[in-house]
Symmetry: C2
Subunit: 269 residues, 2 copies
Amino acid sequence: VKATPRTQESVAISGDGEHWVLLNASPEIRQQIEGFPPLHPKKPRHSPIAALVLTNGDLDHCLGLLSLRESHPLTVFATERVRRGFTEGNVLYRTLERFDDQVTWRALKLGREDELASGLTVEAAPVPGKLPIHLEGALSPDAEDSVGLRIRETRTGTVLAYFSGVGGVSSAVTQALQDAEAVFFDGTFWSEDELPALGLGEKRARDMAHAPVGGPDGSLAALGALRASRRILIHLNNTNPLLREDSPERAQVAARGWEVAYDGMEMSL
Amino acid sequence: VKATPRTQESVAISGDGEHWVLLNASPEIRQQIEGFPPLHPKKPRHSPIAALVLTNGDLDHCLGLLSLRESHPLTVFATERVRRGFTEGNVLYRTLERFDDQVTWRALKLGREDELASGLTVEAAPVPGKLPIHLEGALSPDAEDSVGLRIRETRTGTVLAYFSGVGGVSSAVTQALQDAEAVFFDGTFWSEDELPALGLGEKRARDMAHAPVGGPDGSLAALGALRASRRILIHLNNTNPLLREDSPERAQVAARGWEVAYDGMEMSL
């Protein structure tokens, strides 16, 4: 198979090259930090990671927080829903409450722009989503369970849109991407029935709050008119044919100007 | 610095080369599984991992379980204390309760030998230990919070001793190691005041239930008389001078027949 293995999706951004913000915290966060020298500590108990932003409560987006338990104080941006989903009824979270201010939570509100770090702001945009699997049945769904992010550099106004985990291309989603210079978008599944077709359970893509990329109703078709100079699919499931560099699906997205993220991918905007 | 980076400690054992047992589940378990082809799935939703054994509730020994949530049913051996500490009051654990028998728990009892997998048995031995940090103050300490393991091949009687997280070399510990052909032993800290001496907090090694390796009261001195042909220090903290290949401490343990574990280390007994 012509495909490169990837760790679980995580993105690091910086406005000044010194202070960094992680968009979500994957279970493989240590390996990812080790693989990117700008994120290495400069001295004991130091970290260039100024903040993290969580876009939903999925373990593949949050579990890495627990791996940062020994390093240094953390600032974490998330909606109240995502914060409560991760901190309440979770005895493991006590490992992040060992000293005062070990974690400082900053609340994201839909549609509000907040200072993030090093000349960047963050705005949470509503996306069709769902509760993480481990909270299904324990809470009622809420609009703040899943968000997309608009990161803006205040000096230039450049916008990066990060939409990982999108259950459908709503008009709010399209609007939030409209002026972005770079778009990271949910590429979990190529097709609606990707898992059942491989005998891997019954769940369809939208049951899992992931709009499939391909097909007439897919996100590729729905997002055709973006002006972004960089359009990148992230969070690909290991069943996604886009991972094969020589697949027709890969050729199809490339022809429309979309890239597929890989470990170590870097860009400047 | 002449030292090789290591992932967090995890050991895989097998009696037949086909069915494997993981001793503890580190947060970096995915990277570790990917790095060792015998642990790769042979088909979708398959895994050669027949079982896992948890020796205490520390997150660096248990968090990896949550990374195995999408693969296949798991069989996990642990004391009742360790099982309850990880499963009760932990909403994240619901991700391992998505279908019947996703996790089958098998209770370890101190001093009892149980069938493990592929011609191997496991016996939990008492070790001086402590509750994991996130349960401190929430539960009273108990003898079953931390155990060492004696793994025995039934056909040959060969014993492998795995003692990661040992607060002191008690007579029960010495006795459990006596007939082992290979010993894996807690090498977290070289000295009692390793962290305070580097300005990294106030905690001494024994406060964290790790007997230091060096010094007149260290585990190296206390374990001098072992007959094991392989003696391996594992679970080294990144402050431990044993990680430096050219350190006098490393020379000292080598002179006494001890090795320092590294990623990818393999042996046959």
